[in-house]
């Protein structure tokens, strides 16, 4: 008994330097931002960061985790992201299992109770958006990388920015109630501009309405459904499964039969297969980033998508 006692004491003595060091580091950790400072917000995707910026303006300091050219499915949970999340008061995630491979590690790893699911600072941006491709019936992974909650690329329907910004404004107001009026007013201006721009985007894409198109991945359904494009097939045989020769042959037959002129793809997919399909069918590859590029706000981002599509469509039909 005495021996054990002495042993524990000696263990404690040996561990003491580490404990003291730990206590010192904890004490020197940055204190939470004072109320008058900007609200630190972490968003998983650049597009969500731009929408937070639109609502929060100079009341928020927003950081996006994924970079503009990254596939949001394949981001790694770097410790620096965990650190950013640990300091955030609001955390905005796209949800619908889009970031299932990394978002839980970043959020839970942050040890930040204020941004956990159900906490005032947690925003699942998909909560009230209009969803497409919600699977019905039994699903399993033999169907590829299916998302049980539906197609998660919902921010590519510009009108989904309405419920998206509603949830963002609500969270900012919960965390910073003193400025709730500011957030609501900024959102009002944002929506007014969205309505105006929407009319312009519709007009610009009117010539493409009803056009059949192909895409690399099932990621352009929202944009297509909003502006009346019809997606007749994807280069991927199933979501997340790389193109195979037999699948591409079938797709090219369908594209020829339907007179498909455009193949939509994100810059983060390989170019070889889209180029092959384009060559064989006479269609044109349109590279569309699915996130705002550096310096683009949400409107400039959608402007860019619409412009590229419209230009490619015009070039395609004039041939």
């Amino acid at each position: 008994m005495i021996r054990t006692h002495r042993l524990c004491l000696s263990a404690l003595a040996r561990a003491l330097p580490a404990l003291v060091a730990g206590a010192w580091i904890v004490a020197s950790a940055p204190v939470p931002a004072a109320a008058q400072e900007r609200i630190p917000v972490v968003a998983t995707l650049p597009v969500l960061a731009e929408l937070v910026e639109a609502v929060g303006g100079d009341r928020v300091a927003v950081t996006a985790i994924a970079t503009p050219l990254q596939d949001p499915h394949f981001v790694e949970a770097r410790p620096s992201y965990i650190l950013a999340a640990s300091r955030a008061r609001v955390f905005v995630t796209a949800g619908m299992d889009l970031e299932v491979g990394w978002e839980p590690l970043v959020r839970e790893g942050s040890r930040n109770a204020a941004i956990q699911v159900g906490a005032p600072g947690y925003v699942d941006a998909s909560a009230h958006v209009r969803k497409l491709g919600v699977p019905t019936g039994r699903i399993d992974r033999s169907r590829g990388d299916v998302h049980p909650h539906g197609n998660p690329h919902y921010w590519l329907d510009p009108l989904n920015a309405v419920p998206l910004t509603a949830d963002i404004a609500l969270a900012l107001s919960r965390v910073d109630p003193a400025n709730a009026g500011v957030y609501n007013d900024r959102r009002r201006r944002f929506l007014a501009e969205l309505e105006e721009r929407m009319a312009g985007w519709r007009a610009r894409l009117a010539p493409l309405s009803g056009s059949p198109v192909a895409s690399y991945h099932e990621s352009w359904e929202y944009l297509a459904s909003r502006f009346g494009l019809e997606i007749v097939g994807t280069l991927e045989p199933k979501p997340g499964i790389p193109p195979s020769p037999s699948h591409l042959a079938g797709l090219m037959d369908r594209m020829r039969a339907r007179g498909v002129r455009l193949i939509l793809k994100e810059p983060y997919y390989e170019n070889d297969n889209p180029a092959l399909v384009a060559r064989e069918t006479g269609a044109r590859v349109v590279e569309l980033p699915n996130q705002p590029q550096p310096g683009q706000d949400y409107f400039a981002f959608v402007d860019g998508l619409v412009e590229r599509l419209a230009a490619a469509g015009a070039a395609g039909t004039s041939r």
């Binding site: 006692h5 394949f74 491979g101 107001s173 003193a178 790389p242």
Partner: protein, 414 residues
């Protein structure tokens, strides 16, 4: 109260009390939100614009309520996942797996994971080997401690270096490096205890400091080692007592400290450095303290735009074991490189070296491997391994391995 574990628990309780106090704040905040929202209602134009745009957006998919129902029905079940690890020994001379098997279902790993309540999550991993079920890990993790602190309570893989935290079926290689097998055990170093950690950036980049107080290591890793040993030892006495006995038969407490630093060098690359120290009392000829020291370095490269098609990893770890008293220090190390050839293809190579405890000389070796991932949930891997002891005959093995993952397996730490 001088008991170190007691101190740990007290720290936990104090921290929990602090969290309780903080938890009151959000409710007050919500009340004020209501006030803010009421003020916003007077801005009729927001309502009007929103109503018009929402009308244009269209009703949410009719399927949406179905999803909500599905979520509520399943969300109270923990996530259940399974990883099956199957080996085929293709070695030219004779089988090198345990008991001379050519085909081996090395492990079925069942993971049961989920949130307990707002304060804890629980993760349990059961390893089924043949007719034995073993609790590989089973621990609660705190979710709501203040000051970037976190505690784990239960049984877990110890944060000694980086590779030791990975379950064997999920390693980039088909087994642990030789140094780990010799110094930490065939399936790595795990124990039951308390793990407290803190994250922060006192130097401007991510650091995590972990302190673990745990039981000495049970003998299971050692016993399992014997199966292989009998086989390998048949013809080669020098192969002898193969690892696994790190802190064996140790009734006394094990202390471990680990400092992890992670630096983003660019959007594409990251450098991780780790320092580990473990110490415990062993009873050998005389009672004495054994110290284990470890250094680990990992460099990762993955260009953001082409993350699906290209990546590289360079990794190295070194482990030293200092015997009690005037006993000698034995060392081991490995270096690993992996290159992603294409979306689903990876090649890798590992160089191994170790001075097995209680054996003369050293063992050098290495592994070459090719991995093919049909999807992220299945993997086929071919590995060639050579172990060449200083005194004794070399061992060559060619192993084909498949791993299959079912269920919503939680992603791995970076």
């Amino acid at each position: 109260m001088t008991h170190p574990t007691t101190m740990f628990v007290v720290t936990l309780l104090v921290a929990a009390a602090t969290t309780e106090a903080r938890a009151q704040e959000p409710e007050a905040a919500q009340d004020t939100v209501a006030a803010g929202a009421a003020a916003a209602d007077t801005l009729e134009s927001l309502e009007a614009i929103e109503a018009r745009l929402m009308g244009e957006l269209g009703a949410a998919d009719s399927a949406a309520p179905a999803v909500a129902r599905a979520a509520s029905a399943s969300s109270l079940n923990p996530d259940l996942s399974l990883i099956a690890d199957f080996l085929v020994d293709l070695s030219p001379d004779e089988a090198t797996l345990e008991d001379g098997e050519r085909y081996q279902l090395r492990e079925i790993e069942v993971g049961i994971q989920g949130a307990v309540d707002p304060y804890f999550r629980y993760d349990a991993f059961l390893g089924i080997h043949g007719d034995a079920i073993e609790v590989e890990e089973a621990y609660a993790t705190t979710l709501a401690l203040p000051a970037s602190l976190q505690a784990r309570l239960g049984r877990f893989l110890l944060p000694f270096g980086k590779v030791n935290l990975t379950h064997r079926p999920e390693l980039p290689m088909f087994d642990l490096p030789l140094a780990h097998r010799e110094f930490l055990g065939e399936e790595g170093l795990s124990s039951t205890g308390l793990w407290g950690s803190w994250i922060g950036a006192p130097l401007g980049f991510f650091q995590e400091l972990s302190i673990v107080a745990a039981e000495g290591i049970e003998a299971h890793a050692h016993e399992e080692e014997h199966g292989e040993e009998e086989h390998e030892g048949d013809e080669d006495e020098a192969e002898g007592d193969h690892g696994g006995d790190v802190f064996e038969d140790l009734g006394d407490r094990l202390w471990l400290a680990h400092l992890k630093s992670s630096i983003d060098l660019s959007p594409a690359s990251n450098l991780e450095l780790g320092l580990s120290w473990a110490t415990a009392i062993v009873e050998e000829e005389a009672r004495g303290r054994v110290n284990l020291y470890g250094v680990d370095v990992t460099w990762r490269w993955k260009p953001p735009q082409f993350a699906k098609y290209r990546s590289a990893i360079l990794q190295a770890e070194a482990i030293w074991r200092a015997e009690p008293g005037p006993g000698e220090t034995r060392a081991g190390a490995f270096a690993f490189a992996q290159w992603q050839l294409a979306r689903r293809w990876f090649v890798g190579a590992r160089a191994d070296w170790a001075e097995p405890p209680e054996e003369p000389g050293s063992v050098a070796g290495g592994q070459l491997l090719v991995r093919w991932f049909p999807t992220e949930f299945s993997q086929l891997r071919l590995a060639y391994e050579r172990q060449d002891p200083e005194f004794g005959e070399a061992l060559d093995r060619l192993v084909f391995q498949t791993t299959f993952a079912l269920g919503p397996h939680r992603p791995h730490a970076y």
